[in-house]
């Protein structure tokens, strides 16, 4: 193979990757540095209609909803894009659902909330690139306690739960890490570097389709389903089998 041919062969994919990275970072900067006054104004109108009842007309919060000044674009984007906000019953845990807003409306709302005060921007989940192994370790140390080692979520106290991670997009995972929505702790830039967050994101993505050595996963929720199957199906089958091997003995009348 001639050298020129090899170069030509490589040029295509390399150019495609560079283009993708360039487009992605351009989009990320646009989102991070969002200060388009028109978007903020559109967002404010939406905010006054849909959010102000709980969060206050100026975003300062009420007894129904927290102060949004300084929560940042990341928190707003997480809550809105996962459909957790708007939330009709603030006394209960807000769950992921289909958002009533379009993506453009969410961007406007995010721009408005971001304009209320300095806060974490929407994180870039590809730069710097994460490391899957580091992500696995960080996940086990910091996330698995509540979200389970397989990322399936789990129960908490006081009627709350840690949701499954499989429905979250990479950006939403990073936003949750940075902003600590609901009962989740906050992991700020001094706790995890950007690379560490991206490693976690990479690992959570991996958990959506982990290597599977075979067998029924039973939802990968641990001893509850596994114990149920072992007791009902396993023990039940063994009992039926033992009945088949040796049917109930016919009692002999003792000789007179």
């Amino acid at each position: 193979m001639s050298r020129r041919f090899v170069v030509a062969l490589l040029a295509g994919p390399v150019a495609a990757v560079l283009l993708a990275v360039g487009v992605h970072s351009a989009r990320a900067t646009a989102r991070e540095g969002e200060s388009d006054p028109a978007a903020v104004e559109r967002g404010r109108q939406l905010y006054l209609t849909g959010c102000a009842y709980c969060h206050g007309a100026d975003g300062g919060g009420t007894s129904q909803g927290p102060d949004l000044r300084g929560v940042g674009a990341a928190a707003a984007d997480f809550q809105l894009s996962t459909g957790r906000m708007p939330n009709a019953s603030p006394d209960r845990q807000s769950v992921s659902k289909r958002s009533p807003y379009t993506r453009a409306q969410i961007d406007d709302l995010v721009a408005y909330v971001a304009s209320l005060g300095p806060g974490p921007a929407i994180p870039d989940v590809s730069i710097p690139p994460g490391d899957l192994q580091e992500g696995g370790q960080l996940h086990l140390d910091n996330c698995a306690g509540c979200h389970s080692a397989a990322g399936n979520g789990g129960a908490l106290s006081l009627g709350r739960d840690a949701p499954t991670l499989h429905d979250a997009t990479p950006v939403q995972v990073a936003e949750a890490v940075r902003t600590g929505p609901g009962n989740m702790p906050v992991f700020g830039p001094e706790t995890f570097t950007r690379k560490q967050v991206n490693s976690i994101v990479l690992y959570v993505e991996y958990l959506k389709k982990p290597e599977n050595p075979g067998g029924l996963s039973l939802g990968l929720v641990g001893p509850i389903t596994e114990g149920l199957v072992a007791i009902l199906i396993g023990l039940g089958a063994l009992m039926l089998l033992s009945r088949w091997i040796e049917p109930r003995a016919v009692r002999e009348e003792p000789p007179e």
Binding site: S157, R160, V186, G188, A249
Partner: protein
């Protein structure tokens, strides 16, 4: 072969089952020889063993003679001749023992000595835990580091953040694992004597549950509660780890903290009470 059609059918079934075992075993060989595939090998092994088991049961149920068989118990009492013979034997032995009294005395000494020697393993029990259950690796001035060994500074956690920390040079020492949580300073409800223990809202609690010793790692930021995943004991972080729900009755011990002149977090001392579940001479 018997002419009884039922027995003949059972014989066929048994032969078929053993045949299946043979075929599956050969299949297992072949699969293994051609590189192997765990699921297929496992299934073939299950079929091979299952065939063997089915065949055995068929033999036992249909081909072997069926019971019930009754074995009469022999009379318990010995016959008179046996009793007399035993008495004669006994007297012979007794006579020897009374003639050789010295040997019997030596035997007594030997038995006593063995009894004393048998007491020796008691000495080997232990080692005595001493005060190791009362202390952890935390010391006055010990640097607080995260799971990667990185020191914790004033800015490491944001309000609402939580990480697991260890004393420097003692990463992964179970009894020293500590959960470090940052509260807003107004949230900390200090107990008397602990006014200085939580600088800048940094509260450090032992991560070993006081109920059964599980790691209490589930921090519910909104409620500022720590939840133990094993038995749902719940502890209030602002109130110094006070139990609010579940089987735990004692507070999680709180580690006194301070910032040094470089802004790095250090322990003021070891925990001031034993960490983890109760033990019998723990005291209150």
């Amino acid at each position: 072969m018997s002419d009884d059609p039922q027995e003949r059918r059972a014989t066929y079934r048994t032969a078929l089952a053993f045949g299946v075992t043979a075929v599956a075993s050969v299949g297992l060989f072949v699969t293994y020889a051609f590189g192997g595939q765990e699921q297929i090998e496992g299934a073939l092994l299950a079929v091979a063993l299952g065939g063997l088991g089915f065949g055995f049961v068929e033999v036992a149920k249909h081909l072997l003679p069926q019971g019930p068989y009754v074995e009469e118990r022999e009379p318990l009492a010995s016959s008179e001749d046996e009793q007399l013979a035993f008495a004669a034997d006994f007297e012979r032995g007794e006579g020897w023992m009374s003639r050789r009294g010295f040997v019997v005395k030596v035997l007594g000494v030997a038995a006593g000595a063995i009894g004393l020697a048998a007491l020796l393993p008691i000495r080997s029990l232990g080692p005595n835990p001493g005060n190791s259950l009362f202390r952890t690796k935390w010391r006055r001035g010990a640097l607080v580091v995260d799971e990667q060994g990185k020191p914790v500074s004033v800015d490491t956690l944001e309000v609402g953040g939580a990480i697991t920390v260890f004393p420097e040079d003692h990463l992964e020492v179970e009894d020293s694992q500590t959960i470090l949580i940052r509260l807003s300073r107004s949230d900390v409800v200090t107990r008397s004597g602990r006014e200085e223990w939580a600088p800048q809202g940094y509260v450090a609690l032992s991560k070993v549950c006081t109920h059964a010793g599980c790691p209490v790692g589930l921090y519910q930021q909104q409620f500022k509660k720590l939840l133990c995943p094993c038995h749902q004991s719940t502890f209030s972080v602002p109130e110094g780890g006070k139990p609010t729900f579940g089987p735990a009755t004692r507070s999680l011990p709180q580690l006194p903290l301070m910032f040094d002149s470089q802004g790095l977090l250090r322990a003021r001392s070891d925990y001031q009470e034993p960490v983890g579940p109760g033990f019998w001479d723990r005291g209150t």
